[in-house]
C-alpha cells in the first residue's frame, strides 16, 4: 500500500535528516531531502511528494512560512505537512495548525508516533 510513497524532508540539521531518511526508508518510503525553505518549496513543486516533513526553526524561511506558502499554491496545497520541531510550546502547536499543518510532533520524536501520523496523513489525503 505505502510502497513507493514519496516523502520530502525539509530540515537544516543534517543528522536529523539522516535519521529520518534511514527510518523512513526502512519503512519503504522514498525520501527526498531539502536543507532549507527555498529548496524545499522548489522540490515540493517539482517532485510532488506525497507528504512533507517540515522543521520549524530554520535559517531564511521558517516552517510556518513554508507551510503557508505550500498551502497557498494550487499544486502543493493537497500535500499533507507534518511539522517536526524541537520547540516545546503549545502556542507553537496552535500556530502550526493554523498555518495548515496536518500534525505537529515534538522532537525528540517517538518513531511510532511519527510513522502513525504519516500513515494517517496519507490515508487522509486519499
Amino acid at each position: 500500500m505505502k510502497m513507493g510513497n514519496k516523502i520530502l524532508v525539509i530540515d537544516d540539521e543534517p543528522l536529523v535528516v539522516e535519521v529520518l531518511k534511514i527510518r523512513l526508508e526502512m519503512n519503504n518510503y522514498e525520501v527526498i531531502i531539502a536543507r532549507d525553505g527555498v529548496d524545499g518549496l522548489e522540490r515540493a513543486m517539482r517532485e510532488k511528494p506525497d507528504l512533507i516533513i517540515l522543521d520549524i526553526v530554520m535559517p531564511g524561511l521558517d516552517g510556518y512560512q513554508i507551510c503557508r506558502k505550500l498551502k497557498e499554491d494550487r499544486k502543493t496545497k493537497t500535500i499533507p505537512v507534518i511539522m517536526l520541531t524541537a520547540l516545546g510550546q503549545s502556542a507553537g502547536r496552535k500556530k502550526g495548525y493554523s498555518s495548515g499543518a496536518y500534525d505537529y510532533i515534538f522532537k525528540p520524536f517517538d518513531d511510532e508516533e511519527l510513522l502513525n501520523s504519516i500513515e494517517r496523513a496519507l490515508k487522509y489525503k486519499k
Binding site: 536529523v16 527510518r23 526553526v57 524541537a86 516545546g88 503549545s90 522532537k107 525528540p108
Partner: protein, 848 residues
C-alpha cells in the same frame, strides 16, 4: 541467522581451503614423481573425489544453515582421514606412517579444539593401522593408455578445482559483505559513543582495565598504554574503590549489572570529576564471566547544564521579580496619582467655593452661639441668580416660620446685595441643632432680625442672618460681633481660594511635565485634560481644532470605553488597569489605569486616566521567553539525533548486536527520554516562574484517565515486582481540567511511588468524590517521608535525604510542577506519610 555462524563460516573457510590445496599438492607430486600401481591410483582418485564432494556439500549445507552441528563434528576428522589417505597413496605407506600423519594433525590442531584433535588422531590411527595390514598386491600398467588416463585425470581434477575456487569466491564475498555491514554498524556505534561523550571501559574479572575508549582517555588525560592491564581503581577515587573490591565486586559479577553508581574519576593530574557508572557483566557462551563493560558518564556537563539553567532561571526570576516589583510600584504610583488627581480635580472643578464657606460657617457658628443669644441663624449664599439658604434653628419650625425667614431674607438681599432675589429662587436647607433647647415650640412671631452682608473679594456674596422671638433682642455689641464674623468668613475664604488656586497651578504644571500620559474627562465624558505625554503617546499634535469624533477614535484605541464601562460597574473609586498595544504613531505597549472622580457626596464628576509606556518591560519579557525557547530547541535537537540513531540500531540491527550491546542501547534510549523529561520539567518550572503556564481545560473522566496512566506503568511496576491496584467509583462525576497536565501529575505520583517502593511492594491508586471535589490519591509501601519534609518536597530542587538521592534520581522538579498545576486548577495537593511505612500523595480537582 545465528550468532555463532560467523566464526563457523570462517573456520570452514580455512579448513576447506587448506585441505583442498594440500590434497591437490600431494596428488600432483605423486603423479609427477612416483610410479604407482593402477589400483592404488584408482583408490587415491576416488579418495580425492570423495574429499572434494564432501567439502563442497558440507560447505553448501553450512551456508544454508543445515546440519550445522553434524558438519562441524565431521568436517575436521574426515578431512584428516582424506589427507592421510592421500599421503598414503602417494607412497607414504613405504615409510613410517606416524610421521606421515603428523602434518594433517598439525593443521587440524591449528583449526579445531583439542577434543576434535584427539578424536581425529584416533581415527587416523585406526585407519592407518588398517591400511598397513591390508596393502598387498600391485598391478603394473604401462604405455599410452596410462598416459591418457593421467591426462584425463588431470582434466577432471582441474575441473573440480575450478568448482571449488568458484564456491570459495562466492563464500568470501558473502563474508566480506557481512564484515562491511559490521563496519557500518561499528561506525554508528562510534558516532553514538562520540555524541554521548561517555567513557566505555572493559574491565576483566580481576578488576583490571582491558579496553578503554578515547572519550575516557580524553577526560582522564592518560594514554591508552598507561591504563591497559592496570587496576581500574587507578582512575576512580578511593571512596569508590569499594565497588571494585570484594564483596561488592563479587556481588556485581554475580548480579550481572550495576546502574547509575555515582562515583568520581581521578584524572592523571589529580582532578576529580563527578561521574555516573553503569555496567554490565559480559559472559561467554558457557556463562563464564569475561569481564565488565562499564559506561561511565561525565556528570559535569549535566551538572553544569542544570547549574547553568538554574542560574539562568534564577537570574530571570530575579529580574522578573524586580520587574514585577517595578510594575507593582508603578501601579501603586499610578493609583496614588490617580487618587491625588481625583481630589484636586474635585477641588478645582466640582467644588464651588460656597461649599468651603459652609465649612467655614459651620466652624464659626459653633462658637457664635456662645456670644449672641439668638433663636435662628441663617446664611444666604448667592450663586448667580440662585441662592442657597441654610437655616439653623433650635426649635421645631413650621412652614409659616420658614416663609417668614425666607421673605425677610429675600427682602434684605434685595436691599443689601442690590440683587433681585425671589423667594422661589432660594434653595432651603434646614439644620437643627439637636443638643440645644430641643423640642421648644415656636411661639408667636419673630420679633427681632439682624442681617449682615457677606462680602468676598469686594463682591457681596450673601447674608448672615440671626433672629429672635424677643423684641429688641440684639445689642450694638451683637451687631459688631456679627460683622466681625462676616469679615472673618470672607478673609478665610479668600485664603482658601488662593491656596486652592496655587495648588491647582502646581498640579497643572505637574500634569503638563509628567512622563505619564494623563487624560481627564468630566461627567459627560468631555475631555478636560490631555497632557503632552499623552499627546505624544497617541501622536496628537493639538486638540484645539480636533472634532470630538476624532478624539474618540483615539480613545477607542485605548479601549477607554471598556475601562469606563468597568469603572461604572464597580462600586467605589476602584482603579481599573489594562495593557493596550498601539501601532501608531509607533508600536508601543501602554499600561492604562483609570479611576473615577467623585465629589464629597459620592456623585461622579469624571474619570482620570493615567497612561504609562511599558514597551521596554514587555520587550524584556519577550526576550525571556525567546531565550527559553532557544534553550529548549538547542537541547532537543542533538537529543533527537541520538535517539533517532539509537532506535534505528535497536530496531534494525537485531542480528548485529549481542544481547548485552542491545541492552546498552536501550539504556542510552532510556537516558535520552529521561534527559528530555528533565528539559521539559525545567521549562515547565521556568514557565511557572514567569506565570506563563496555561491550562487547556475540558471536561474529563478522571476514572478512565487513571486507568490509562496506570496501564502505561504496568511493565515498569512488573519489572520491579510491584503490584499496581486501582480503585474508583464508576459513577465519578466529570471535572473541568487540562487532561495533559492532570496526566502529568498522576504520572509523577505513580512514578515516585514505584521508584521509592521496595520489591514486592504495592501501589494503590484511588479516586473518590469529596466535598465538591474529586480526590485522587496514590499510596505506596515505600520508604516514606518524615513530617518535617512534607512541605520541602514540594519546593524546587529539593529531595528528602542525601542518602536517598544518590540512589534514586530525578530532577526534584516533578512535585513542585504538580503543585503548581493543581493550584492552577484550584485544587489542593498534600502528602501523608510515616518514615519507613510508605506515603500517600493526594490531589483534588474542584467539580464544576
Amino acid at each position: 541467522m545465528e550468532r555463532t555462524s560467523q566464526p563457523d563460516v570462517f573456520l570452514l573457510n580455512i579448513a576447506y581451503k587448506y585441505t583442498g590445496l594440500l590434497a591437490g599438492l600431494v596428488w600432483a607430486l605423486t603423479l609427477i614423481l612416483k610410479e604407482i600401481p593402477l589400483n592404488m591410483f584408482a583408490q587415491a582418485f576416488s579418495v580425492i573425489l570423495v574429499t572434494v564432494l564432501f567439502n563442497i556439500t558440507s560447505t553448501k549445507m553450512m551456508l544454508k544453515g543445515k546440519f550445522l552441528k553434524l558438519n562441524k563434528i565431521l568436517i575436521g576428522p574426515l578431512n584428516v582421514i582424506f589427507v592421510a589417505l592421500l599421503v598414503y597413496y602417494s607412497g607414504g605407506y613405504k615409510s613410517n606412517l606416524w610421521v606421515m600423519f603428523l602434518l594433517p594433525l598439525i593443521i587440524v590442531s591449528l583449526v579445531y579444539t583439542p577434543k576434535q584433535v584427539v578424536l581425529s588422531a584416533s581415527f587416523v590411527a585406526i585407519i592407518c593401522s588398517l591400511l598397513y595390514f591390508f596393502q598387498t598386491e600391485r598391478i603394473e600398467f604401462e604405455g599410452v593408455a596410462w598416459l591418457l588416463l593421467k591426462i584425463g585425470i588431470f582434466f577432471v581434477v582441474s575441473l573440480l578445482f575450478t568448482k571449488i575456487v568458484d564456491l570459495e569466491t562466492k563464500h568470501r564475498r558473502a563474508f566480506q559483505e557481512k564484515s562491511r555491514e559490521l563496519t557500518k554498524t561499528q561506525d554508528y556505534t562510534d558516532n553514538i559513543v562520540k555524541s554521548m561523550l561517555d567513557s566505555l571501559i572493559v574491565i576483566n574479572p580481576d578488576g583490571r582495565i582491558e579496553k578503554i575508549n578515547k572519550a575516557a582517555l580524553d577526560i582522564l588525560g592518560y594514554r591508552e598504554r598507561e591504563l591497559i592491564k592496570k587496576p581500574v581503581t587507578r582512575i576512580f577515587s578511593q571512596k569508590d574503590e569499594v565497588l571494585f573490591r570484594d564483596p561488592q565486586w563479587e556481588e556485581l559479577l554475580k548480579k550481572g549489572f550495576v546502574r547509575d553508581f555515582e562515583s568520581t574519576y581521578v584524572t592523571k593530574k589529580g582532578d576529580r570529576i563527578p561521574v555516573s557508572l553503569s555496567g554490565s557483566v559480559m559472559r561467554d557462551g558457557e556463562g563464564k564471566t569475561e569481564g565488565v563493560v562499564a559506561v561511565v558518564r561525565d556528570m559535569r556537563a549535566l551538572k553544569t547544564l542544570i547549574a547553568g539553567l538554574e542560574k539562568a532561571g534564577r537570574e530571570i526570576r530575579e529580574y522578573s521579580e524586580s520587574l514585577e516589583k517595578k510594575v507593582d510600584e508603578r501601579t501603586k504610583e499610578i493609583r496614588k496619582h490617580a487618587h491625588e488627581f481625583s481630589i484636586i480635580y474635585e477641588i478645582s472643578k466640582g467644588i464651588s467655593y460656597t461649599l468651603d464657606i459652609h465649612q467655614i460657617l459651620e466652624t464659626i457658628m459653633g462658637s457664635l452661639h456662645r456670644l449672641i443669644d439668638y433663636d435662628v441663624f441663617a446664611s444666604l449664599l448667592m450663586e448667580g441668580k440662585k441662592g442657597e439658604l441654610i437655616i439653623e434653628s433650635y426649635h421645631s419650625v413650621n412652614e409659616k416660620f420658614l416663609q417668614a425667614v425666607k421673605s425677610n431674607l429675600a427682602g434684605v438681599a434685595n436691599s443689601l446685595l442690590g440683587r433681585d432675589v425671589r423667594v422661589e429662587d432660594l434653595r432651603v436647607t434646614l439644620r437643627k441643632e439637636k443638643s440645644f433647647r430641643l423640642g421648644q415650640q415656636v411661639k408667636g412671631e419673630l420679633e427681632s432680625f439682624l442681617n449682615v452682608p457677606l462680602v468676598i473679594d469686594n463682591v457681596p456674596m450673601g447674608i448672615l442672618h440671626i433672629s429672635s422671638f424677643r423684641k429688641n433682642a440684639f445689642s450694638e455689641d451683637d451687631i459688631r460681633i456679627l460683622h466681625t464674623v462676616a469679615d472673618q468668613v470672607a478673609s478665610a475664604h479668600k485664603k482658601l481660594k488662593d491656596l486652592i488656586f496655587k495648588e491647582k497651578r502646581k498640579i497643572e504644571s505637574m500634569v503638563e511635565s509628567m512622563s505619564e500620559g494623563v487624560i481627564m474627562t468630566d461627567e459627560n465624558d468631555n475631555l478636560v485634560v490631555l497632557n503632552p505625554a499623552a499627546k505624544g503617546m497617541l501622536g496628537i499634535s493639538s486638540i484645539d481644532s480636533m472634532p470630538d469624533e476624532e478624539m474618540w477614535n483615539y480613545f477607542r484605541k485605548l479601549k477607554l470605553g471598556r475601562m469606563y464601562q468597568k469603572l461604572s460597574e464597580q462600586a467605589g473609586s476602584e482603579v481599573v488597569t489594562e495593557d493596550v498595544d498601539l501601532d501608531e504613531p509607533k508600536p508601543i505597549t501602554l499600561k492604562i489605569a483609570s479611576s473615577l472622580v467623585r465629589n464629597h457626596l459620592g456623585e461622579r464628576l469624571g474619570v482620570v486616566t493615567i497612561l504609562r509606556d511599558i514597551t521596554k518591560e514587555k520587550e524584556v519579557d519577550r526576550m525571556k521567553s525567546d531565550f527559553i525557547s532557544f534553550v529548549s530547541h538547542e537541547l532537543r535537537t542533538p537529543l533527537t539525533i541520538v535517539k533517532g540513531f539509537v532506535t534505528i540500531m535497536l530496531d534494525e540491527a537485531s542480528s548485529r548486536f549481542t544481547r548485552d550491546q542491545k541492552e546498552h542501547l536501550s539504556y542510552i534510549n532510556e537516558s535520552i527520554d529521561r534527559l528530555s523529561r528533565i528539559i521539559s520539567n525545567l521549562l515547565d518550572i521556568s514557565k511557572i516562574d514567569a506565570g506563563r503556564l496555561r491550562l487547556q481545560k475540558k471536561s474529563i473522566d478522571v476514572g478512565s484517565l487513571i486507568k490509562r496512566v496506570a496501564r502505561s506503568f504496568r511493565l515498569y511496576a512488573k519489572s520491579k515486582g510491584i503490584k499496581l491496584e486501582i480503585s474508583f467509583d464508576s459513577k465519578l462525576s466529570r471535572v473541568l481540567a487540562d487532561p495533559d497536565r492532570v496526566t502529568q501529575v498522576l504520572t509523577n505520583f505513580i512514578d515516585n511511588a514505584i521508584k521509592f517502593s521496595d520489591k514486592n511492594g504495592e501501589v494503590f491508586i484511588e479516586a473518590k468524590e469529596g466535598k465538591d471535589v474529586i480526590e485522587v490519591s496514590v499510596a505506596d509501601s515505600g520508604i516514606g517521608i518524615s513530617p518535617e519534609n512534607f512541605n520541602r518536597i514540594f519546593n524546587k530542587f529539593q529531595r528528602v535525604e542525601k542518602g536517598v538521592s544518590s540512589k534514586l534520581r530525578g530532577t526534584g522538579l516533578g512535585l513542585p510542577i504538580s503543585k503548581e498545576i493543581i493550584r492552577l486548577h484550584g485544587g489542593e495537593i498534600w502528602v501523608e506519610s510515616e518514615a519507613g511505612k510508605g506515603s500517600k500523595f493526594t490531589f483534588t480537582l474542584p467539580q464544576k
